[in-house]
């Protein structure tokens, strides 16, 4: 499954959910689909998209908050899954874009631990997160994402993706400014855009 194709399916079922996206090339691809949306926070530092979304999910009545993490980023902060399992926030969905590689360094040149068999769905399940799945095809994504983005969670969805680096360059040319994004994200949530 190619990441851009998976992200298109995700966007189809996203609804109004705010998104915080981890670092890496996936941001470029989501940016080409969604554009400069104030309720999407791109390029969060490694390991922190999920806990930021956890805090948001625990503190608001938003029906859904989505963390889009790479496998490398989630591996850098696995402890957050124990906290998600402990507090069971129903509005939280964590989607792991698992290409088994640190994608910023060429096409699968630097592999993550998931390439050696670490199963992030089973890790999540062992942490007490009841709603988990691993998606390997777009058909599975089409059938599962509507549930994972609309029914009570927490959810951890592991999307197994091809490792590739041929992303659209638009994002790299016009990256949203990190400081601007933070302020706009906050203001959009306060205004109730989402």
């Amino acid at each position: 499954m190619r990441r851009l194709d998976f992200l298109r399916v995700f966007v189809k079922y996203r609804g109004d959910a705010p998104i915080i996206l981890g670092p890496g090339l996936a941001g470029r691809e989501l940016f080409t689909i969604l554009g400069d949306d104030p309720t999407v926070l791109y390029n969060m530092d490694m390991a922190y998209a999920a806990p930021l979304c956890l805090g948001l999910a625990l503190s608001t009545s938003l029906p859904r908050v989505v963390a889009l993490e790479g496998d490398g980023s989630l591996l850098a902060g696995l402890g957050v899954l124990t906290t998600v399992g402990r507090y069971q926030p129903p509005a939280l969905t964590i989607i792991v874009l698992d290409n088994e590689a640190y994608g910023s360094f060429g096409v699968g040149e630097m592999r993550t631990a998931t390439s050696a068999g670490v199963d992030l769905e089973q890790v999540a399940r062992s942490c007490g997160i009841p709603n988990t799945c691993t998606l390997r095809t777009l058909e599975e994504a089409e059938s599962t994402l509507p549930l994972a983005l609309a029914t009570p969670g927490p959810w951890v969805v592991v999307a197994k993706l091809e490792a590739h680096g041929d992303t659209d360059p638009t994002f790299a040319r016009v990256p949203p400014d990190v400081a601007d994004m933070g302020l706009r994200f906050y203001e959009a949530l306060r205004r109730g855009d989402r």
Binding site: D45, A47, P51, G55, L58, S59, L62, G79, T83, V178
Partner: protein, 179 residues
Amino acid sequence: MTAEAHPKPIVNYREEAARLMYDSLRANGIDFAVLLPDTVLHVVNRLFLADSAVRTIVCSREDEGLAIAMGAYWGGKKPVVFMEGSGLGYSGLILARGQVQRSPTLIVASHNTVLGERYNYHAATRLVTQPILDALRIPYHVLHSAEEIPLIVREILVTISGQRTTAAILVPRYIMIQD
């Protein structure tokens, strides 16, 4: 609730100082707390965990806890994060991100560079607590006495709100523990 509801702790806490910290934070609008247990702040943590009006989250590591608190700030809450000062050693990147994107939180952390550091196993803790804050130019105040807690809590929260900056109160051991 009181400490009597729990097994006797192995240190002699100054319950009145912990109560003053809790009351001051609540009186000034703190409504979301994240903590990783710490000896010095144990009674304060216990008071927050017993308060059903505040969502208090026990995190697995301090940098994760800061990110949770910053998410809660975006959710409209007024958060505090309790930690041992060693946790700041894990937290440089998320603290920096919070400053850049202006998602602040209050930190209440034990330990500091100068006052009351009696145990050498806190040597590394003492070396990271204030230097991390200094490096990121995050404002902080080291408490000198329990009596100043209400003033410091009130005014540091004014600064956090007015400047949208994270800020910290550092609590020497003698403030909360009678040795």
